[in-house]
Amino acid sequence: MSWNRKHLLDIESLSADEIITVLDTAKAFKAVGERAIKKVPALRGRTVVNLFVEPSTRTRISFELAQQRLSADIVNFTAEASSLKKGETLKDTAKNLEALNADFIVIRHSAAGAPHFLSRVLNAHVINAGDGAHEHPTQALLDAFTIRERTGKIAGLNVTILGDILFSRVARSNIWALTKLGAKVTLCGPSTLVPRTFEAMGCRVTHDVDEALREADIIHLLRIQHERQRKTMFPSIGEYTTLYGLTKARFAKVRPNALIMHPGPINRGVEIDNEVADCARSLILEQVTNGLAVRMAVMFLINGGKGPQEIAVV
């Protein structure tokens, strides 16, 4: 048991022990979600602001539901309907929210490092819900939780992450989390989207999709993030599907117990075939369920992050 952090900003700075603490805590919160009464009073009286400067549906809903199940009071804030549109800086917006005594700020921003910046200027707890192409820590934690729940372990597994790695915060957070927990990570995709520089993070890079999938225990697919690409990084969507999509034919050649993951939203017919997305070895919807439990666990742990006090002997 080790957790005395005030914020969750990235996976890079977490230890394997801290990641395991989140996963263990999330297990208990998943059980809460299966009860008739799905709500616990752990965050009663605490105010949470969901500051989503970049649009998001599933992450925001997941965080919001997690906060409701912890009995927190919630304010939702989207960039379109805010004074950020009128030219207010992020710091001023956040300071204003803190002046209303917000205890937690959950931030999604298109600029890498925005949560780290807020954690330096605010007293509130800050949770990174995705910053640019940098990190998406709760996604990596829920992915690790899902893998561990289904296979019973993470160390020693072959995990292949396939797709748009360059622009993906999900990929970066996953690489940190999985390598810290002892998995062997392989990255694969078009060379424009999977540069060799990623080898410095402790994973293997290949552009041969069949070779990348052959030994994989977990196949982690990523969406092509058109919105982050300044120019097209590959000739066409059709060509991407042909060369790197997880088609039925390709899926037939992987290990018989290999599992499929995807952070969503999925583009059917692009990075994944219909039949593959809906098969029994696809964990895509389990990831969504587990995301709720993991986000509850993160908020619960951070709320108590007041230093490494010994728990009173009662």
Partner: protein
């Protein structure tokens, strides 16, 4: 000068549990509705032992569960987040007499949290409380129904219950700082 003294040895714990089991049957004429719920960590092995003794006395299996109360504590923002243990209540608590089992009764806040947590699983007909050691210093109007040993303590002392730990005898020790 820190010192430790033995409050209960293995035999003492066994006798206390046997007496508590008899008191539970005395208090509850029909034990068919009695279930035991241990509070992690200390209360869980205790509830299991008590369940065995009680089942032997009444000649029927008494259901035993465990209930983590940490999500219901009132001091969550005042300390590092506690480790959460599994909650396993594989029976319906509605209409039952739930005997909460904990090792040491101190401020009473754990028990308040436990009653709160139990509400999420249904509406027991009665809730009773069994503890191995009552060390005093209550901060809430809570009283145990069944007590293994009343042990007056000072607030700075610590009561350590060792039960079912490998390589160690069952015992209760009082540590003075």
């Amino acid at each position: 000068m820190p010192e430790s003294s033995l409050i209960l040895n293995a035999l003492g714990i066994q006798r206390a549990l046997t007496r508590i089991a008899h008191e539970i049957t005395e208090r509850n004429e029909t034990t068919t509705d009695v279930v035991l719920v241990g509070i992690p960590r200390g209360g869980v092995p205790l509830a299991e032992q008590l369940g065995k003794i009680l089942s032997g006395i009444v000649n029927q299996a008494i259901p035993v569960g465990s209930l983590d109360v940490n999500m219901h504590r009132d001091d969550l923002d005042q300390r590092a987040a506690p480790k959460i243990y599994p909650t396993q209540i594989p029976f319906d608590v509605n209409g039952k007499t739930v005997v909460l089992v904990d090792d040491v009764l101190f401020s009473g806040r754990t028990i308040r949290a436990a009653m709160d947590a139990l509400n999420d699983f249904g509406r027991p007909r009665k809730i009773q409380l069994a503890v191995l050691v009552d060390r005093g210093h209550r901060e809430l109007p809570i009283k145990a129904d069944f007590v293994g040993k009343n042990q007056p303590t000072s607030p700075t002392e610590k009561v350590q219950v060792r039960l079912g730990e490998p390589g160690s005898e069952d015992q209760v020790i009082l540590h003075r700082p």
